[in-house]
């Protein structure tokens, strides 16, 4: 095994250990505290209250954190790669705007009262509609134009948020509360089937993304250079865009808007492991999972027994960490250039 393979394996191993401990922490902390050492005995005693807390509340919630954190971070890493723009994240492309609009519409129309499942469904349809719009409007003469796509994504975000404001201004206070609450994001999802779906989708997308790992590596040199190396840049970008959009759409529909994970985590991971996608994809996924699980723990404990919206935590922590790293890496890169 050469040096690179060894170092990559160590990184993955380290992250898996981190995921494990984040899981343990997330399962143990809360209104009912369950110490680490009791975790396994609790899980074998199906009649205890702790078992109920774990299996009905904390395990699904932690799994959702794992899937959404990993999914958003993976999407961010891939999108930053295909757009070759470090500021792109799943939300820049209008996907969250579309999902929010879908949800707002569902709440205003009262669909959520009929069946709770209509809410994520509406979010997902909104996300899909945006993806389709962005994709269609950015395709000219059969070619997908990357910069155009970015601008159209941003514009669609603006339009959807304006439409959302409009809907909010004509609806009842109760509905506004529901909309705002959803917008802030939460891992509190009671439908296990939905959680299972997001987990499966996240892991599946991680696996599928590895089919395109070398084309992604080549795309670091630009679309045209990648093509000169024999990579079908257009097809790669197309498939990856659709893949990440579906994943993001699903994550947002279930967990609401959780910002910064898709933007900040891939950056931090790149500073740590380098820009080779063979390690960056899995490292981004696992780091995103750890980050979101830990943020959720913070959201649950800071003002316990009440709960902070998780989007608030990720925004504050992510933003600060990002600024600190950016100012540090700038010094670093100047030093290197000299």
């Amino acid at each position: 095994m050469d040096k690179k393979t060894l170092s990559w394996s160590m990184h993955v191993l380290l992250l898996l250990v981190a995921v494990f401990f984040a899981f343990l922490l997330s399962l143990s902390v809360g209104e009912v505290s369950i110490p680490f050492r009791d975790m396994f005995s609790v899980l074998s005693d199906k009649d205890s209250m702790e078992y109920g807390v774990l299996s009905y509340i904390r395990i699904p919630r932690t799994l959702l954190g794992f899937a959404v954190g990993g999914g958003l971070s993976l999407s961010g890493a891939i999108l930053q790669g295909i757009y070759r723009n470090p500021l792109v994240e799943p939300y820049t492309l209008g996907i969250s705007g579309g999902a929010s609009l879908g949800i707002t519409f569902a709440i205003v129309a009262g669909l959520h009262l009929a069946n709770a499942l209509f809410l994520p469904l509406a979010g997902f349809i909104g996300a899909l509609a945006t993806i389709f719009l962005v994709y269609a409007l950015s395709t000219r003469r059969g070619m997908l134009e990357i910069n155009r796509m970015l601008l159209i994504g941003v514009m669609i975000s603006f339009i959807s948020s304006s439409l959302m404001m409009f809907l909010m201004s004509v609806t009842s206070a109760e509905n506004i509360h529901g909309i705002v609450f959803w917008t802030m994001g939460s891992l509190n999802e009671s439908n296990n089937a939905m959680i299972g779906l997001v987990v499966i989708l996240s892991v599946a997308c991680l696996l599928v993304s590895y089919i395109f790992v070398m084309p992604l590596n080549a795309l670091r040199l630009g679309e045209e250079n990648a093509r000169h190396l024999g990579v079908d840049s257009g097809t790669t970008i197309r498939i990856l865009f659709i893949l990440t959009s579906l994943l993001t759409g699903a994550c947002i529909s279930v967990a609401g808007i959780i910002g910064f994970v898709g933007l900040v985590i891939p950056h931090i991971v790149q500073l740590w492991v380098g820009s080779d996608y063979r390690i960056k994809l899995i490292a981004s996924f696992l780091s995103g999972s750890v980050f979101l699980i830990l943020c959720d723990v913070a959201a649950r404990t800071i003002i316990a027994p009440n709960e902070l919206p998780i989007g608030v935590i990720t925004g504050i922590i992510g933003g600060i960490v990002f600024i600190v790293l950016l100012s540090r890496s700038e010094k670093h890169s100047k030093f290197v250039q000299r």
Binding site: H228, G230, D276
Partner: protein
């Protein structure tokens, strides 16, 4: 000599209106060819037509006797390597960057780099004197070093033909000459055919065996440097007054620009 690349009545261009038309020439194997012409005469467009980045409007490009447009991207990348005018500045080490040149030879799901690939990359890094920069980031290199790294990466593709788009335009004279000498050596020792866009006519005259001179999207003249680089041709194509002399060492044409003021003085002095 076997024909390597044949352009048969090629026309291609952009929807915005710029086209190159009726391009006919052929390059034999092992040639060192140069493309010259003023800005906007269609040199880069010609390259994009050959590489397949622009689809041909008319005519065809044949490579080793086969229609080049029918090859897959991967097959093209095994035959022709392209070094663009600007090397992308990515956060990637020089070694990783050069290794990307093995991309067209990777198996579909080959996850790790083969030992053989790494060896080829290292070989060309030694040859271009970039091995010492192996672990540096591409972003931290100077223009000359970056250009050398991109040559190493292109050579790692093991191409039959190397296309270079103005590779020396932002290098100082030391690096220009070093670069051109390297390309000349590769051309001779590896029997690698080279076609390059050159701005500096004297460099083109000194290093190339064959020149294609373009004007307004058409070929104005083609042939060996002595035939192409005459002051009449240059004045017509570039609309500039020049003096063409012979390099006393190599016997190749050298092109001197003449300033407007000196030209006036010269004309006055020589008036009867």
């Amino acid at each position: 000599m076997k024909e390597l690349l044949v352009l048969d009545n090629v026309s291609c261009g952009y929807k915005s209106g710029f086209y190159i038309n009726d391009i006919n020439f052929s390059l034999s194997e092992g040639i060192f060819a140069g493309i010259v012409g003023p800005n906007g005469s269609g040199k880069t467009t010609l390259f994009r037509g050959i590489s397949g980045d622009l689809s041909l409007h008319k005519g065809a490009v044949y490579f080793e006797g086969k229609d080049f447009s029918e090859l897959s991207l991967r097959e093209k990348a095994q035959k022709v390597a392209i070094v663009s005018q600007f090397t992308e500045v990515a956060d990637i080490t020089v070694e990783e960057y050069v290794l990307m040149g093995r991309m067209p030879y990777r198996k579909q799901f080959q996850f790790f780099d083969k030992k053989e690939d790494v060896e080829i990359a290292h070989h060309y890094m030694h040859l271009t004197n970039t091995y010492r920069l192996k672990d540096k980031s591409m972003a931290a290199l100077s223009g000359g070093e970056r250009q050398m790294a991109s040559i190493a990466s292109a050579l790692t593709q093991n191409p039959r033909l190397l296309l270079l788009d103005e590779p020396t335009s932002h290098l100082d004279i030391t690096h220009q000459v070093r670069f051109m000498n390297l390309i000349q050596r590769l051309n001779e020792e590896l029997k690698l055919s080279v076609m390059m866009i050159v701005h500096d006519l004297s460099l083109a005259g000194e290093y190339c065996d064959y020149l294609v001179m373009m004007k307004n999207g058409r070929i104005f003249e083609k042939g060996n440097p002595v035939e192409v680089l005459t002051y009449e041709n240059i004045e017509k194509v570039y609309e500039t007054v020049v003096v063409v002399e012979t390099n006393p060492v190599s016997g190749n044409p050298v092109v001197f620009p003449v300033s407007e003021r000196r030209m006036k003085e010269f004309v006055e002095k020589t008036k009867p």
